[in-house]
């Protein structure tokens, strides 16, 4: 551990100092980094079963291969992030295999079922775009050098996932008919899901230290704007309705629905007509986790103990 105080380290990293390992960290820095890396690792890990169960809807052997290539990438990204956590004193074994499903820190979006090929491609178009938005900011701004280096690979591969999602969204939307309707239905539930993913608005944000320690550069609201700046024009180009528009006077994207609002996970329906709800109600929904939480976590953890038992015998 560093002999510096949190405030001294904050000043150093704001001046460009790069942290290389636990010997350079204060306890405050380590905790803030642990939270950030846990969310990153869990998100990558839980995207894998979500995409894997949806890959059965792939319409050809080529698309099977590309869907599974994405899943392979996501698992590798998760593995890299858990290794980074081990370097700062956490146990990968415990994080992956020792936690209950509700203890994982991935976003609510990866607790939802993807029920057809259109949902899988919109997920890679929207959710992976959210991933790139968040991780590009970290790559550009982080003071933690091992993470900055690891993100070179992750950024390259996430860009491929995004391209795969957008190409297929375009193809299905252009086809019209049922294909287009399925994409629109996916957009209807996944657009607000991704908006919510970026978390509390800035005026309510609790102090996390991630900005002060330069573990990221942009605020939640700024990141939401970056995501919308790519996603809203894409939807407009494809003739898909997205519940947001560019506001000239405010010079920013504005949502066309009450935010946050309640979600019916069974019907995959956002209750826009019931109006705005509190963030406490959102946290309560997140805490209960979504319908696929236990199934996805179980799919990752199963057979670990069996195989350990065989190997020990």
């Amino acid at each position: 551990m560093s002999h510096l105080t949190d405030e001294e380290l904050m000043r150093k990293v704001q001046g460009g100092y790069m942290v290389e390992g636990p010997e350079d960290m204060t306890e405050g820095y380590r905790k803030a980094l642990r939270v950030q890396l846990t969310v990153q690792a869990d998100t990558e890990l839980m995207s894998a079963p979500s995409y894997w169960m949806a890959a059965r809807y792939a319409p050809s052997t080529n698309t099977q291969v590309s869907a599974h290539a994405i899943i392979q990438d996501e698992l590798a990204h998760a593995n890299i992030a858990y290794r980074l956590l081990e370097d700062i004193g956490e146990s990968k074994e415990h994080l992956v295999y020792g936690r209950q499903p509700h203890e994982f820190k991935h976003p609510y979006g990866f607790d939802q079922p993807l029920d057809n090929w259109a949902e899988l491609v919109v997920a890679t178009g929207f959710f992976d775009r959210a991933g790139i938005t968040l991780l590009s900011d970290v790559h550009e701004n982080t003071s933690y050098a091992p993470l900055k280096r690891a993100l070179v690979k992750i950024g390259m591969e996430e860009t491929f996932h995004l391209r795969h999602g957008e190409v297929w969204m375009r193809r299905l939307a252009k086809a019209g008919g049922e294909a287009r309707e399925l994409v629109q239905r996916a957009v209807d539930w996944m657009f607000p899901m991704t908006i919510e993913w970026f978390g509390l608005p800035d005026h309510m944000k609790r102090h996390s230290g991630q900005l002060d320690f330069k573990l990221k550069g942009l605020t939640n609201d700024q990141l939401r704007q970056v995501w919308m700046a790519s996603t809203v024009p894409l939807c407009e180009e494809l003739g898909l309705d997205a519940p947001a528009h560019w506001d000239k006077d405010k010079s920013e994207y504005v949502l066309d629905y009450p935010f946050p609002c309640q979600y019916d996970a069974v019907e995959k329906h956002w209750a826009f007509d019931e109006g705005e709800i509190s963030w406490d109600a959102v946290f309560e929904r997140w805490k209960k986790r979504g319908p696929m939480n236990e199934i996805y976590v179980e799919s990752v953890q199963r057979s670990r103990l069996d195989v350990q038992h065989w190997l020990a015998a």
Binding site: E20, G21, Q72, A76, I80
Partner: protein, 75 residues
């Protein structure tokens, strides 16, 4: 199942530097090669090598991950 840390080095093209790209945990050298090849698959590498971290000898530093690896190897 005791695993070891292996650092992964790659050369993208003939004539490029061999660069550290990351690391994997593996039971032995053979699984380390497989895990490295499948984990760091973002390029068509000209060359990839793995090095067991305990075999990396720190020269000038007295702290950091490579020193820790040395210490844990002698526990």
């Amino acid at each position: 199942m005791r695993e070891f840390v292996y650092d992964v080095f790659t050369r993208k093209e003939r004539g490029d530097r061999l660069q550290h790209v990351g690391y994997v945990d593996a039971f032995d050298d053979e699984t380390a090669k497989v895990y490295a090849w499948t984990t760091y698959s973002e390029e068509k590498w000209f060359e990839m090598c793995v090095v067991k971290r305990v075999n990396v000898l720190p020269v000038n530093r007295t702290d950091g991950l490579y020193v820790d690896a040395q210490e844990s190897a002698h526990d």
